[in-house]
């Protein structure tokens, strides 16, 4: 066991840091962040410029093959770059899904002409991608997608609705999972397409979240024409394509989700205890909870180190990395709720100017329920652990051997 970089890794880390110091500011307070200071339009522009620099410096597509414009390095190098980048206020967010999930799918399933058209432009930050899978009636059960595409000459005509699409309002292209054959089993009638988000008939509407924010979108398709050459994989093979996209999701997801044990400990030093004696940090009930949070947060962090070790040995991390989200969402909710409740009546105030840590605990309280759902609910992730890690049998499937159109789907 050894927490140090190899000499090669250390060299790469130094290069990355030099690049970042030149092109980004170190992380300051929340309010000073680019994402808060700039309008969405300005932020996307900054992101594109930053991505271009990354590409020029060899920090885009670190693990991608050289023929795709990548650097062909093992995954640990991408982890190292991400670790360093996380210390800076780098506008990389708009590219996370496109470069992490969509374009790798294009690389895996596109023909040479398709790859030539899209991959380099994405890597250089000229075009941003989004992922169009979830639907109002197909959340946990993504394969139940109803948005349909019908062949018409050399084109396909898409009608339907996708939902929870991150960044759809500023994206150039998307990969969309649609039903091309409702007469076969659910998983067998899907096809994946590249869709131009500026094409006629594509309408993007922002979703107003329960937390008040508007980070996600609904995307409506009305007679949207997509040429057949935009198809990824054979007709009916869309589910297999989607699985590749989703497998990349686990590697793409990460990063901080909100206040953690260090922040609530800082709060507790000044907050009165609920018993009226001393400060919260002197309250043993708080201290016991704090210990549990330390154990979980450190356990999660250290588990990622184990994953990184596996990566550096050339192994692919499996579905066991699902534990992160199961831990983190509830961890965040619990910390924020405890922090708010410890403030007593005052905790109800949700105003960054008045509240400790710019109301980060209040914001986390409102955001955490979404985190328990986004990218797979707690329940789905536990199913994944049970089935794919522990090898437990699937639940009884009532959708096997039935044509999609004949499946019950509720109201």
């Amino acid at each position: 066991m050894d927490f140090n970089d190899t000499p090669e890794e250390a060299k790469f880390r130094a290069e990355a840091r030099a690049f970042l110091e030149k092109n980004c500011s170190p992380k300051g307070s929340d309010k000073e962040r680019l994402s808060r200071r700039l309008s969405t339009e300005e932020y996307v522009k900054a992101a594109k410029a930053y991505q271009k620099k990354k590409a020029e410096a060899g920090f885009a597509g670190i693990t991608w093959a050289k023929e795709q414009g990548g650097r062909g390095l093992p995954p640990i190098y991408a982890v190292i770059f991400n670790q360093e980048e996380a210390k800076f206020d780098a506008p990389s967010q708009p590219f996370a899904i496109g470069l992490g999930m969509c374009v790798p799918t294009v690389i895996a399933f596109g023909d040479d002409a398709t790859k030539d058209r899209y991959v380099a432009k994405a890597l250089r930050g000229e075009e941003i991608w989004c992922q169009l899978f979830s639907e109002p009636g197909a959340g946990s059960d993504v394969a139940a997608s109803k948005t349909k595409a019908v062949r018409d000459g050399d084109d396909w005509v898409i009608n339907g609705q996708k939902v929870w699409t991150t960044g759809a309002h500023f994206c150039d292209f998307g990969i969309v999972l649609v039903r091309t054959n409702p007469d076969v089993e659910k998983h067998k009638g899907l096809t994946m397409f590249i869709v131009d988000m500026k094409a006629p008939g594509v309408e993007v509407r922002q979703i107003h979240q329960a937390s008040g924010g508007r980070e996600f979108n609904e995307v409506y398709f009305t007679d949207v024409r997509v040429p057949d050459k935009n198809r990824l994989g054979e007709p009916g093979m869309g589910w297999n394509v989607a699985l590749v996209t989703l497998m990349n999701e686990r590697l793409a997801v990460g990063g901080s989700t909100g206040p953690d044990y260090a922040e609530i400990l800082e709060l507790a030093r000044t907050m009165p205890s609920p018993t009226g004696q001393g400060t919260l940090v002197q309250d043993e009930a708080f201290r016991q909870k704090l210990a549990d949070w330390i154990v979980k947060a450190e356990g999660y962090k250290l588990s990622k180190f184990r994953t990184m070790t596996a990566l550096s040995r050339g192994q692919t991390p499996g579905p066991e990395s699902s534990i992160g989200k199961v831990i983190n969402a509830n961890h965040l909710m619990d910390i924020c709720n405890t922090a708010i409740e410890s403030m007593d009546h005052y905790g109800i105030i949700n105003d960054g100017d008045l509240m400790p840590m710019e109301a980060a605990f209040q914001q986390g309280y409102m955001w955490a329920p979404g985190l328990r759902i986004a990218g797979g609910t707690d329940e789905i992730l536990k199913n994944i652990i049970a089935e794919r890690v522990l090898g437990l049998p699937q639940d009884v499937r009532v959708d096997k051997g039935v044509a999609f159109k004949d499946l019950p789907s509720g109201r």
Binding site: P136, T275, N350, D351, Y365
Partner: protein, 371 residues
């Protein structure tokens, strides 16, 4: 043994539910949520006043209906279920209860009829910043005639005409009655997690005020007001929790995933069963609080603390798991889940946070054991 509401009380509940289904509900709550300029629904407030609910527990001689606290509990449960966007709790559970508990005949005669008619919105001003207040932490100061200090937050303090304020007086603490519409009072509206109710920071600068109850008795009176409010808030919490469970159950029966009703999956079943168990525990504790409140039993402090602890925990559980049961839909502004999630937190904090009440519960058990 009769540990249930009477048939008359149940009729009142049915009537109240019918009335609120008609006049309140999410559409009314959302009017307040979506309009930053208002913090309660005036139409609903007037309608509730016309029903006599504001004076349900106020004696007839002061313009109320003169019903008991049990009837008020019944109404509280229904208002909680409806996430009603009106300053009912501040006015009725806190302000009116404080007056009935500590007010002189003249004070009661002056204020209770206006509460009953809906003319006066009242509030209760205790907190002065982060953390659970104690007798020693109170900084607002009353000198027998004027009040100075800052109270933050005060639920419904932005719309109330009168406040009961907890203030230092000499070496002790007193309750003080203050007209908020005077030059010595400045209000600043606060943004909170539950925008369907108003909140303010109240600043008093030589504000004219009068004592409510005996000088130096303010902390004990404040605790007594909080105990009464705790029981009534517990019924709002039970009502809100039950609404979450019903909403989640209904969704689970009608939403399909993997071509099955999601309610046929054990993960959802057991989640909803856990909510049910939490609500039953909260309901039974709330009923005991209601009995103690209505009979002015010596058990009230213990029962109130148990009811409040159970109610706060149950509503938090039910509100968050209702969102979870709804999946992505539950995290949208348009679906009502977040109204409950927001209100659950307000109700858990309004009369003091859960940890402080659990500590009270244990102290009261120890006191009971020692007696």
């Amino acid at each position: 043994m009769n540990f249930d509401f009477s048939d008359d009380q149940k009729s009142l509940r049915d009537e109240a539910r019918k009335f609120l289904t008609d006049k309140a509900g999410a559409k009314v709550t959302r009017r307040v949520l979506n309009d930053a300029a208002i913090s309660y629904d005036e139409g609903l407030w007037k309608a509730v006043a016309e029903m006599g609910w504001l004076g349900a527990a106020i004696p007839e001689e002061h313009g109320g209906l003169g019903l008991g606290r049990l009837e008020l509990c019944v109404l509280a449960e229904e208002l909680g279920r409806a996430v009603a966007p009106i300053p009912f709790s501040s006015t009725v559970y806190f302000f009116a209860e404080a007056l009935m508990l500590a007010g002189s005949d003249a004070q009661k005669a002056a204020h209770l009829p206006k509460v009953a008619s809906g003319e006066t919105i009242g509030c209760f001003a205790l907190s002065e910043g982060p953390g659970a207040p104690t007798a020693a932490s109170v900084q607002a100061k009353f000198d027998g005639a004027t009040l100075n200090g800052v109270k933050i937050p005060v639920t419904d303090g932005d719309v109330a005409g009168w406040a009961v304020v907890v203030a230092k007086e000499g070496s002790g603490v007193s309750l003080v009655l203050v007209d908020l519409n005077q030059a010595g009072v400045t209000r600043e509206t606060l943004k909170t997690l539950d925008p369907t109710r108003g909140h303010a920071k109240l600043e008093f600068k030589n504000a004219k005020a009068e004592r409510l109850g005996a000088a130096g008795q303010g902390w004990e009176l404040s605790e007594a007001v909080l105990d009464r409010a705790a029981v009534l808030l517990a019924f709002e919490q039970v009502g809100g929790s039950q609404a979450c469970l019903e909403m989640a159950t209904d969704y689970a029966k009608n939403r399909y995933a993997f071509s099955r009703q999601i309610g046929s999956f054990q993960a959802i079943k057991h989640k909803l069963a856990d909510m049910y168990v939490a609500i039953e525990v909260a309901r039974s504790n709330a009923y005991y609080g209601a009995w103690a409140l209505s009979t002015e039993a010596a058990e009230l402090p213990f029962a109130a603390a148990a009811a409040r602890a159970a109610g706060s925990d149950a509503y938090y559980l039910c509100a968050k798991e209702n969102i979870q049961t709804h999946g992505g839909m539950g995290f949208t502004w348009e679906v009502d889940c977040h109204l409950f999630y927001r209100r659950a937190k307000l109700l858990a904090l309004q009369a003091g946070g859960p940890a402080a009440w659990k500590e009270k519960l244990v102290r009261r058990l120890e006191r009971r054991n020692a007696a």
